[in-house]
Symmetry: C2
Subunit: 258 residues, 2 copies
Amino acid sequence: MSVLKIIKIGGNIIDNDDALNIFLVAFSKLKGPKLLVHGGGKLATKLANQMGIEVKMTNGRRITDADTLDIITMVYAGKINKNIVAKLQALNCNSVGFSGADGNSIVSIKRPVKNVDFGFVGDVNKVNTKTMAVLLENKVTPVFCAITHDENGQLFNTNADTIASELAIGFANQFKTELFYCFEKNGVLQDMNNDNSIIENINTKTYQSLINEGVIADGMLPKLNNCFHAIDNQVSKVCIGKPEMLFNKNSIFTTIKK
Amino acid sequence: MSVLKIIKIGGNIIDNDDALNIFLVAFSKLKGPKLLVHGGGKLATKLANQMGIEVKMTNGRRITDADTLDIITMVYAGKINKNIVAKLQALNCNSVGFSGADGNSIVSIKRPVKNVDFGFVGDVNKVNTKTMAVLLENKVTPVFCAITHDENGQLFNTNADTIASELAIGFANQFKTELFYCFEKNGVLQDMNNDNSIIENINTKTYQSLINEGVIADGMLPKLNNCFHAIDNQVSKVCIGKPEMLFNKNSIFTTIKK
């Protein structure tokens, strides 16, 4: 089984032209089949402000109404995705942009309403790897934005970390899948103010302790839940850190273990 | 050689939800390999207005500055393209959205500055069918928006009629290509106020007479130039009319002949 590397980049890379270009040069040089997943960064909020559309939040979480879904579709699948694809082509990395609708790759269902109606937010229900696999066999790299669909014509906003883990799981019967979450820190940190306090390995047991101690909290919780979801479902390797972990053998980062 | 149908839809179909849905149902039922090309309609201008960005025109032609290119990329490759792909999936037509950057499919060069600098407008230089062909072999339908790139990371705004004709020419050595321009009229009209005055056949000779008589003018000129460019370059069939021409055997439309 050959290795498929699935790499997710977050807003801090997307929002910074230099960081994005450095990352894409490194990404384009990675050998073997690979797949890029990107979030949206601050551009969607900026566009909403320019258009005079109010960003609705509940407990720090965005509510995706119809206008917001349009903005996300325009920014993620349009501006960000096509610019990344064009930059990868310039680096001789043949790529094709994807949303979950393209190739019917990721089917999701509208998040059920409990206390909050998140609007057009989709929870992943099914990953169809077939169309992406055909491209990978032909050395074409899918570049995935954080949008899915419901097979009934409705697009959904879906968390990019979740998309990355679900793709890694979806491909695990065809490839040895390795999942890398790239962000602005060196990994999961013991002390969030000290970028050298990297926790190099986290397993299910130490994870629970780190939550209890309050070391892992807020935004890191859903990210790590995605990591454990992947490692518990046949994904071979799950790592969190700066993009350097992809190409610098001396870099230190966090690896998630069972 | 099997037939590849390349169908271009214009703004009047894209801007009208009912017309678009009717078209997509018909399109999804077409047998054999097919490819859809769409323009952008009025949504780009609407978004520019919402964002307070001035649309710059010279002699009725849009100047694509950096802001306008962003808008076009967001609207064409994002909102319109992904919604069409999602709707086609709902109709069991497996499709993948494309710009010229995706799969390095259409390479263009910035339109040379003569009297006017059109900005980020690209003239098609090269069509690479390889990635699209792999998808077509696997019964996946490419859905193309009117954006190209220069292989150096720059996206360009490119006329959708031109994209359709260049794709038809590019595929002509692999398929018998048929090109259909769908718009709001029944075809090229002798009297633009009478939708029944369809000119059923136009060839190089009658084309020149129709121009001289002033029957073909304004926006129809570049469209017909694209048609003749296609028919002169190994495209088997070129037709202009309402979407009905695709599925209603009794419909009357315009066919371009050498």
